[in-house]
Symmetry: C4
Subunit: 178 residues, 4 copies
């Protein structure tokens, strides 16, 4: 992470997303790339996720990400998921995923392009993504937008998950992003 | 407003739009979000509008904005609206709206996306919109453009409402933007 | 012109285009907006054009630009126009126009949008266009691109008109842009 | 090359691409424009390519680039090309090309637009392209994207050619980009 451009902000935003996802029971997964060589996924983040998937390809799709995402969630979670998020993730024809990570122009890019190719709706959280160089990072965002990804920010995700000031998690979320 | 990036310019442009809208009898509405908690809509701006709508959802649509916009205007106003604006707003198949406000990436974004989803033609006046951070603001503009909104500036709206130098409000408008 | 952002560069590029257009016999027209009030079109540029059109609307289309552009050119000119430019401008189903000027977000924008609406292929030469503020200028370019205009630069036009190093006007054009 | 904006980085990235292409047996070609007047193609780069094509038009297509690209490769090379790259380049309906060079807004742009017109999938490696001015270069990229080119960076190409950490050329490629 230290080599990543604006690493602190990227990490902070990923933490906000994972924390709120856990609180609102939005299923989340971590992927780690050849951890025995380049190190494990950040433990604080992994602990907030439902699971961590190991991979050797740069894209997480050839080694099973889509199966993981589209498998039926345990009944307990599905029931407790807020209604408007249930609709988006389970009833619609096009499943959606919120994605963030490093490096934006390698693993994240290749994964997102594969997901778009599988007809998923892909939200890329730009301020929770990073590359070593700003130019590679921004080129990844432009390319993802051109291929149909929805580029969003951490706060957009937070306020779209909440929907309004009366959401029971509103105060919790507001404290997170302060 | 003070926390908003370039707040002075945002406010100044919103004031120009509301003032000219009133002068040219283009119907305009203010929305205020949970005013008892985060304060009322700016009184100077509200006074220029036909009405102010309160809301608790971030998007203004679930609580009735579309009904407000597509309801028949009183006969007096409809007759006095300049012809080319009448056509745009009432006769065409796709009703249009000019939208501005704060925060660009939360309430304004969610409202605009809902309006686009309702098949309205949405003009977002970028220099009359703001967020606390420039990055969130610009990400909102990019996302809106990608979803079909027309990104415009205050001066574009002014000169497209006027159409030409012979418009009776030309001098009034020119003084406004100086 | 002095109030325009980067006025010198805008003027220099417009001059290059008009000079080469005249040399290569590409028909060109100037438009001037209410000249008795805001001054005549720059005489050096006007002298290079086939004609100058006066207008009072911000868009040049309601007062006859399209008729001017699509009227048959005099036989003498049509014959001497380079073959590949003849094809583009006269035989194809979609007539094309190269456009530049000030202010980018008012007269030029409204004219270009009207031309696009008329199914013309519109090339906007960005470095030969200007507005008083950079933000309005760039917003005009983004909006034009979103509406289907082809954004080009002066050098792009020059080298696409020439096609190759063996063009008889190659040396003349190279001296122009130096 | 010295006159090109960020010439060192452009050259370094072109060298990485040509070196890896040779190692992974991806066929590559150089084009040189009127070499007797403006000098030969850089010898170090040319030596890494399968061949060098001379041209006098700014676009390389009228003088035979597409024939060169779509001609059957010698059997030896075709067999040794990595499987996933074989698929992309030979079996799919739409042949693909990775393109880089100078000047981005003249020869490269015109060539790429012609290739897109021929229904090829065109990848433009932005950080291995240059123009004398940054504005012309960036305008070329925007125009190429608007016309359907895929804008990529050198590292994107490297990691998409490799596909994963287990590729036999992974270590070689990593040393190249360090």
């Amino acid at each position: 992470m230290p080599a990543i451009h604006q690493a602190d902000e990227v990490y902070r935003n990923a933490l906000i997303l994972a924390t709120l996802a856990k609180k609102m029971r939005v299923p989340s997964y971590a992927t780690e790339h050849v951890p025995e060589k380049i190190g494990s996924f950040i433990p604080e983040l992994a602990a907030l996720c439902k699971g961590t998937m190991r991979k050797t390809q740069f894209s997480a799709c050839p080694e099973g990400l889509v199966d993981l995402l589209t498998s039926k969630a345990p009944a307990g979670n599905a029931r407790s998921l807020p209604k408007h998020l249930q609709k988006n993730n389970q009833d619609s024809e096009r499943p959606s995923i919120v994605i963030a990570g490093v490096e934006a122009h390698v693993c994240l890019l290749q994964t997102a392009l594969d997901l778009l190719n599988d007809e998923m709706e892909v939200w890329v959280v730009t301020d929770a993504c990073g590359s070593r160089t700003e130019r590679n990072r921004d080129a990844a965002f432009d390319r993802l937008a051109g291929n149909g990804a929805e580029l969003v920010t951490t706060e957009m995700v937070v306020f779209e998950w909440l929907e309004g000031a009366e959401n029971e998690h509103f105060k919790f979320a507001l404290d997170l992003i302060k």
